[in-house]
């Protein structure tokens, strides 16, 4: 959820809740006040009516101003009690509907006779007033809320503008590029954020540079002594004075040093991919690339009598990526399909729109599926490889947000690469 949406929602819910409570209280207070007002009026009328009782015997005093209705009953039994206020409904003949009235009931003595008097007053005018005032208030609240929304937006753009610009710049930041430089900001917290970010990105860019140099140097520094060992052992092999035993030793040295140099260059490659040092982008036709690599591996495929079935979709699958990384991806997947195949097995290469599916026969994994793409995980029975091929594949996929999935079914390993996430 966006910051603006979130804050607007929060303000809306909170103020609605507040206004609701306040509205109820206000409404009640207003109602009570108008009722008290009405009661006071009725009380005043009582004095007037009391003065007239007896003059108009058994006749309602309608002519008195301010009284909507009046009933006077002569009582045989004398009752002394206080006046009582109450609400009642009465049928209005003019408008033919029930209306609410407030009344005061009291007893009066005049000339030895007792009367029960009820003075009625319509609540209509006060209700109307309360209604109007409430309506006005609601309208004000709505207007106020609208104002808050607009104000909120305005304040937002003003207050958080720098913050959003900072986010935009951070998004564009890449470790391989320059550290982020943001302009000075007048809000103290944002200024602190800016300083922290600049310090951090500077550090990141610096670390990256150092790591890159370190990898470069390590590779170089390791390759040179390796080259020396390799060349010296090769020279030694040429000697006529060596017997079978010495040659065996030399062969072991030779094999190990070759492995070591391959390991070194592969690890350097992994680091380079991780560091996003492959940034060239070119159009790669996947089926052409597959054919090219199959050509290179023809001997290995033939040696193990592996059948290759190609099911290429008629639409060519074109990828936008670094040529070197594309070679790594396809090369390692194919190599994997050949190495972990069985003699006389098969490889199925299928392209679909946005997808490459590679199947190969082979015995099940000797380790768990989750470890398949991790470094140095390999079939323990096999020697000579390091289990780095698939982690290279994974790294390439990560670089371009490709999704690679693995399944094993029916003695067949299936790798699916989805190029469009």
């Amino acid at each position: 959820m966006k910051l603006l949406t979130k804050s607007t929602l929060l303000i809306a819910t909170l103020s609605l809740f507040l206004f609701f409570i306040m509205g109820i209280i206000f409404f009640q207070v207003l109602k009570n006040m108008s009722k008290a007002d009405l009661d006071r009026e009725l009380f005043d009328l009582k004095e007037i009516v009391e003065g007239h009782i007896g003059n108009y015997r058994d006749n309602p005093i309608i002519a008195l101003p301010g009284i909507d209705s009046l009933s006077i009953q002569a009582l045989d039994v004398h009752e002394e009690s206080r006046e009582v206020f109450g609400d009642t409904l009465m049928f209005d003949l003019k408008e033919s509907q029930y209306k609410t009235y407030r009344y005061i009931q009291f007893y009066s003595k005049k000339g030895g006779a007792g009367y029960q008097v009820k003075i009625y007053k319509s609540t209509n005018p006060t209700d109307y007033l309360v209604e109007r005032v409430t309506l006005m208030m609601t309208l004000m609240v709505i207007l106020f809320l609208a104002g808050i929304f607009i104000l909120n937006r305005f304040i937002f753009a003003n207050l958080w503008g720098d913050f959003f610009r900072t986010i935009e710049k951070l998004k564009q930041f890449e470790t391989s590029k320059e550290p982020v430089v943001l302009g000075e900001q007048d809000i103290q917290e944002f200024e602190e954020l800016r300083q922290a970010l600049e310090r951090m990105t500077r550090r990141l860019a610096n670390d990256y540079k150092e790591l890159k140099e370190y990898t470069d140097h390590t590779t170089h520094e390791l390759q040179t002594p390796l080259a020396v060992i390799k060349s010296k052992s090769e020279l030694l092999i040429q000697s006529d004075r060596l017997g079978a035993e010495e040659m065996k030793c030399l062969e072991a040295i030779n094999t190990s040093v070759n492995q070591l140099s391959r390991l070194n260059s592969t690890l350097a490659l992994l680091t380079r991919i991780e560091n996003r040092q492959f940034t060239e982008k070119g159009k790669i036709d996947l089926s052409a690339l597959l054919e090219q690599h199959l050509d290179l591996m023809e001997e290995h495929i033939n040696l193990r009598n592996i059948r290759v079935l190609k099911q290429f979709h008629k639409e060519p699958l074109v990828l936008l990526m670094d040529q070197g990384l594309a070679d790594l991806l396809i090369g390692n997947l194919l190599k994997n399909a050949i190495v972990h195949n069985v003699d006389g097995g098969s490889i199925v290469l299928e392209t679909r729109p946005g997808k490459l599916i590679m199947r190969n026969d082979g015995p099940p994994l000797t380790f768990s599926q989750e470890e398949l793409f991790t470094r140095f995980v390999k079939d323990t029975k096999r020697t000579g490889n390091f289990g780095l091929g698939l982690s290279l594949v994974k790294k390439v996929c990560e670089t371009y947000n490709f999704i690679i999935e693995y399944t094993f079914d029916n003695q067949q390993h299936t790798f699916t690469v989805s190029f469009i996430p």
């Binding site: 390759q223 010296k232 020279l235 040429q238 040659m247 030779n254 260059s265 040092q277 290995h300 190599k335």
Partner: protein, 228 residues
């Protein structure tokens, strides 16, 4: 048969000089940029081997300079740096080939021969060994003047062995030379054996004596002596 080697690692330089000497090459040595510039015109080199990381200067600059001075010489860059961009940069500077350290000396010799062939003889010559003659330009091979049908890989393998005649070449070096990075990637070098077996069979069927000698399982030696 002069070769210029520009390399700052003394041991590696020595190995290269010794191995190339076995092939009959004489080497001029330079261990830094300035020495290299000084001896650049000293001889008419067949081939120049230049390391990119040099004390006193950039190897790429040296490649450019060498290309200006000796247009007839082959130039091979030998470098520990192995990225496509660096290869392209090296080749654009005027190098004919790019060899990544650590390399096999036998591979170096084969590349020197092949670069020398391309630049000196314009590729039009015939390589011969015993009763075998190979015309690299036409991709054809003859035994006793009769054409033998070889695949591209078999022909490359034959030429590699011929370049390293009388030397022991390891299985790894054959694999790396012929299959590049796929050579060592399979953990077994059986395919080298299979290929060599096919090559030997084809040559022998054409009436060629078996020049290949198996050396203690470490590799092979291609020589006329064996047949005698």
């Amino acid at each position: 048969m002069q070769i210029l080697i520009v390399e700052d690692e003394a041991s590696l330089m020595e190995s290269m000089v010794s191995y190339l000497a076995l092939e009959g090459f004489k080497c001029e040595k330079a261990s830094d940029y300035h020495t290299a510039v000084c001896v650049l015109d000293k001889h008419d080199y067949i081939c120049m081997l230049i390391d990119l990381n040099l004390p006193g200067g950039d190897g790429l600059e040296l490649v450019k300079l060498a290309r200006e001075n000796q247009s007839e010489s082959g130039i091979i860059i030998i470098s520990a740096r192995n990225s496509i961009e660096q290869r392209v940069e090296g080749l654009e500077a005027g190098a004919d080939d790019y060899l990544v350290k650590p390399f096999h000396l036998s591979e170096l010799v084969a590349r020197v021969h092949s670069v020398a062939r391309r630049t000196r003889m314009k590729g039009g010559e015939v390589l011969s060994f015993g009763v075998i003659s190979v015309m690299p330009e036409e991709h054809s091979c003859f035994v006793n003047n009769k054409q033998v049908d070889l695949t591209r890989k078999e022909l490359d393998m034959l030429m590699f062995l011929m370049s390293n005649r009388n030397r022991v070449v390891t299985k790894e070096s054959i694999a790396d030379y012929l299959w590049g990075e796929y050579g060592g990637a399979y953990g077994s070098y059986d395919f080298v054996y299979t290929h060599l077996k096919n090559l030997r069979r084809k040559l022998q069927e054409a009436g060629c004596p078996d020049y290949v000698e198996n050396i203690y399982g470490i590799g092979y030696k291609f020589s006329l002596d064996k047949s005698s």
